[in-house]
Symmetry: C2
Subunit: 303 residues, 2 copies
């Protein structure tokens, strides 16, 4: 860096020694969500839906036997998105998944091995459900039903601002396996300075700090659901409007009024001539996604 006038850029690059400084490792971690149908209670009732998240059982240290998000180290010759796609292909048989960068986590102590900076991604699979690759000798993958509830909210006003602390209880279940965690989100305003921190308070069965990546990603998924067309990545090619509404309701964890929902999504959807059949009630028209909608897919990356 010093005495730059004495070197051309080409000389500088030729003599550059990348080994001079110690560096963090860089990984990608991917939140793969899907909405799946639970077995139906009765021949008439529509099946319930639930939100699922793909987790991988760790086959090595650290956190041996705990469950982690799919992901891994970024190689020197691949971009970040590329690495995320590669990791996805290593775990699943799906090729065409939605993928979007979420947030980058780089706290100092978050991996016991060494300093790790982790770029998290959001991925969505259609409710047909993608198939998982047969587990290698040392690892195992599974879809976990996600439930995340706000269990506490505390706002304390200080003289110069406030602190808003929200406590979330995350539960992941897959058959007899149950994982859980308590994650706190703390938003502070002090004068002009704001900060937002996520902290894992308890974590049972979930590796690393992945519980907070999950809770944070879930909030983002909910947010984006309301102002983008992201939901269609969770749908099969053809679907009924009720199915679409169920996907919204499942993720938002709240009921919506049918008439209003249909009005709002009418311009993002095109009807087909097909109908469902063999349900215990009136058949329902099938629709396809129609992207042109209103054109206002809002800006940028990351959101």
């Amino acid at each position: 860096m010093r005495r730059p006038g004495e070197q051309t850029e080409a000389q500088f690059l030729a003599e550059y020694d990348p080994g001079k400084y110690e560096r963090p490792s860089v990984t990608v971690d991917i939140l793969v969500f899907t909405v799946a149908e639970e077995p139906a209670d009765s021949y008439r009732r529509l099946p319930e839906k639930s939100l699922k998240l793909l987790m991988i059982k760790r086959g090595g240290h650290p956190f041996l036997g705990k469950w982690a998000l799919p992901g891994g180290f970024v190689r020197m010759d691949e971009g970040l998105d590329e690495a995320a796609y590669r990791e996805l292909r290593e775990e699943t048989n799906a090729k065409e998944l939605y993928l979007e960068q979420l947030y980058t986590w780089g706290d100092v102590g978050r991996d016991p091995r060494t300093r790790v900076v982790s770029v998290s991604y959001l991925s969505l699979a259609d409710s047909g459900g993608i198939s998982l690759k047969a587990g290698d000798d040392s690892c195992d993958a599974g879809w976990f039903t996600v439930s995340c509830r706000l269990t506490g909210e505390r706002k304390s006003i200080t003289e110069d601002g406030y602190t808003l602390t929200r406590t979330h209880r995350l539960r992941l279940t897959n058959g007899q396996t149950a994982l859980s965690a308590v994650v706190e989100s703390e938003r502070t305003l002090e004068g002009r300075r704001t900060s937002h921190r996520w902290e894992v308070r308890e974590s049972e069965g979930i590796a690393f700090d992945h519980a907070k990546l999950i809770v944070c990603g879930l909030e983002r998924l909910r947010g984006k659901l309301e102002y983008t067309d992201i939901a269609f990545h969770l749908m099969p090619e053809r679907f009924t409007l009720t199915q679409l509404q169920q996907v919204y309701e499942t993720i938002l964890d709240r009921e919506l009024l049918k008439a209003n929902f249909r009005r709002k999504l009418a311009d993002r959807v095109r009807e087909t001539n097909e109908f469902t059949k063999d349900a215990g009630h009136r058949p329902s028209k099938l629709y396809r996604y129609h992207p042109g909608g209103d054109g206002t897919e809002p800006w940028g990356e990351g959101e």
Copy 2:
């Protein structure tokens, strides 16, 4: 990773060799925006405002003499946000800046020295303008007036989706120094798969791929302006509603109707007993930010 049963986690960690794999470097790059007043034309007219961005002149290779975003390598013992704050303090005298993570850039060839993954941040300074540190021997910092215009938009419909290409012309000026770039954003939908790429087509005087970080960050700033209270970080402690409106207009690059603007922001603002004076016209009431507003600062990170 192999034969995990033979080792405890403690043993594994003790023997872990972080030097085994080659790793990327990790940097932070910060977009520091502010809105500044241009010198007034007449004693009566209100001064015009313009959006400014902090840039640093490179004092070493690579890109010697070009202008880059403030930033630098993340140290092994500091978190990402911490690194961003440290870099900001190294360049400016401001302590209390708004800081928010934006996006992480990790294309393979983006730095000629070595593989660099760069976490970009958005920072806002109030229009009082923060003072810059005296330049070191080898570098120089300055506020550049930002202008970014959409110069082309092309949508091509394919059989299975579409491609939307938008071309932006970015101009940065500071006195006689003028930098410019052409940045393309390409959004593709093919069946279920979507992708979004940013590409720098031309870049005059701007180091690395920073032109695209700037254009992408600017889009995010515009987006967030409309649905968060982010704008108040650009305001001094007390301000008039017209000043606040000017900040919105400057960033959005479009005029707003006064009555509607005031109605919309009424609940985020508290009046004081003070007024401006010595303007060539009716004095204006001064306001303060009132956070409680509607409480709906929407979710998560990044976003």
